[in-house]
């Protein structure tokens, strides 16, 4: 019997998810026993044509990491969708948009302008150059992918069967997901391949979490000497554990840093950031109007704090366009 074929691909991502696969270490050999890797650009020399040559549905599973920003990423995602029986959104970016998704706070033209005109690294005494989408060279016409207006999650571009959260997904969850899929033990469509409880349940500091937190003041990690045992919320740090899915063995609180929410929400939550900010605001011990305003102002970069990994997946998806001028046009008779 031939081994089931799988593919790995990356879209808008940092490479950390690929690294996480390699981090399986010797378990990777066990995975290689179970499956045949048919496509993995970062590690093996396969080309797009190799994927195109496969029959539709021939891949048992395609693991796609990264958010979707360019037309090329869209094309590859659609191609792999066609060739794979199951698509797994691998990691925070594919699942919720991830850190690249914070680009949805800006317009695409502003991003290109910053990168190609204003960044210190392009100040070299020559006039700034924006790459042309089409250019003619001796060998023929070259085309660059389109830079789309917004960052999208994989699920906003193609149909996704399973989700593997984390930035990057923890090695244990990857190994169990791959072996389950290779062994044909398929969970229900749409399943998140991680525990469905909040991070606090597996946090080593959980026992020190007071019944009533009553946060007096919010502080940032660099402003305090963090007690390595005490619940981080009890120390006034914005730890998103109460709103975040478990499965990482509380790696960040274990490393003396607050949870930033990369595993996303537990099931039933539509908008992670809204739920996380709700949890944090509820802990404030302040009733006086000015006091509440002052405490909330202590949380630097609220969108970056609560939507660090999930802005494209959120209900608002991106920063709203300026509407004032448009409104006036419509009001005018």
């Amino acid at each position: 019997m031939t081994k089931p074929k799988i593919a790995f691909y990356w879209c808008a991502s940092c490479g950390g998810c690929e690294e996480a696969v390699v981090d399986l270490g010797e378990d990777l050999l066990a995975v290689a026993e179970l499956v045949e890797v048919a496509f993995w650009p970062v590690a093996l020399d396969f080309k797009r044509e190799d994927v195109e040559a496969l029959d539709d549905g021939e891949l048992a599973a395609a693991f796609i990491n990264g958010a979707v920003r360019t037309s090329e990423q869209e094309e590859m995602a659609r191609l792999l969708r066609r060739k794979a029986a199951a698509v797994v959104a691998f990691g925070s970016c594919a699942m919720h948009g991830g850190v690249p998704g914070l680009a949805n706070l800006h317009e695409s033209r502003d991003i290109l302008h910053l990168v190609y005109h204003e960044a210190p690294s392009v100040q070299n005494g020559e006039p700034p150059t924006l790459p042309a989408r089409q250019s003619r060279v001796a060998e023929g016409e070259l085309t660059l992918p389109e830079f789309r207006a917004s960052v999208r999650t994989l699920g906003q571009v193609i149909d996704v069967d399973y989700y593997l959260p984390g930035c990057p997904p923890p090695a244990g969850l990857i190994a169990s997901a791959v072996t389950a899929l290779a062994g044909g033990r398929l969970p229900g469509k749409g399943a998140v391949l991680a525990p469905d409880v909040a991070l606090c349940s597996e946090c080593p500091r959980a026992a020190t979490k007071p019944d009533n937190l009553g946060v007096q003041t919010f502080r940032r990690p660099h402003e305090v000497l963090i007690d390595p045992q005490l619940c981080l919320l009890a120390q006034g740090l914005v730890c998103l554990g109460p709103a975040t899915r478990a499965g990482c063995a509380a790696a960040c609180p274990g490393g003396n840093m607050p949870c930033t929410g990369c595993m996303g929400p537990t099931s039933g939550v539509v908008d992670y950031g809204a739920k996380a900010l709700s949890a944090i605001a509820s802990l404030l011990d302040a009733e006086d109007e000015d006091e509440i305003v002052a405490r909330v102002a202590e949380i630097a970069d609220p969108v970056g704090t609560f939507y660090r990994y999930s802005l494209p997946a959120s209900l608002l998806h991106r920063r709203a366009r300026a509407t004032a001028s448009k409104g006036k046009e419509e009001v005018a008779p």
Binding site: L105, S108, E146, F147, R148, A149, S150, R152, T153, Q156, V157, I158, V269, V270, D271, G273, A274, K275, L277, S278, I280, A281, S282, L284, A286, E287, E289, I292, V293, V296, A297, I299, D301, P302, V303, F306, Y307, P312, S314, L315, L316, H317, R318, R319, A320, R321, A322, T323, A324, S325, K326, G327, K328, E330, V331, P333
Partner: protein, 147 residues
């Protein structure tokens, strides 16, 4: 003229009862408000506010009992804290402060419901409609090009 849509979340004990009084007293106010009754302003999940914006509301109005009057002791204080933090997030997402309004309106303040609804309608007229992109697959495929 632009007729804004306002999703109004009123607590059943104070503001919802006040809105009833507004009607009984035959006080007219802008037809822009869609009232949703909650047991307490503390029941307001910030997701409700975002879902309202997502589904076409130009503004969200939250009404609860005056501080100290909450039927459940602490609910309105919870709402106050959550809305303050939610507003900080919305500001960075390009949604103006006036689009999310919290008011304490007791059961006897029917005329305050009228005043607040009219005021907010006027402010939203000045701001214009809220334009949000749709992230859905279909929308992206339809557009094809960067918007």
């Amino acid at each position: 003229m632009f007729q804004p849509k306002i999703a109004a979340f009123f607590c059943t004990w104070c503001t919802y009862t006040a809105a009833d009084l507004t009607g009984i007293s035959r006080l007219e106010y802008a037809p822009s408000v869609r009232v949703i009754r909650l047991m307490c302003s503390g029941r307001l999940d910030p997701q409700f506010v975002l879902a309202a914006f997502r589904h076409g509301a130009d503004g969200v109005l939250v009404g609860g009992c005056h501080p100290g009057d909450c039927h459940y002791q602490q609910g309105n204080h919870m709402a106050r804290r959550r809305i303050e933090l939610l507003r900080a997030v919305l500001r960075d997402l390009g949604i103006e402060d006036q689009r999310l309004r919290l008011e304490w309106i007791s059961a006897s303040e029917g005329e305050k419901v009228q005043r607040v609804c009219n005021e907010m309608t006027g402010e939203l007229r000045g701001l214009g409609p809220l334009c949000l992109d749709r992230p859905q697959r279909e929308a992206a495929e339809l557009a094809g090009e960067p918007r």
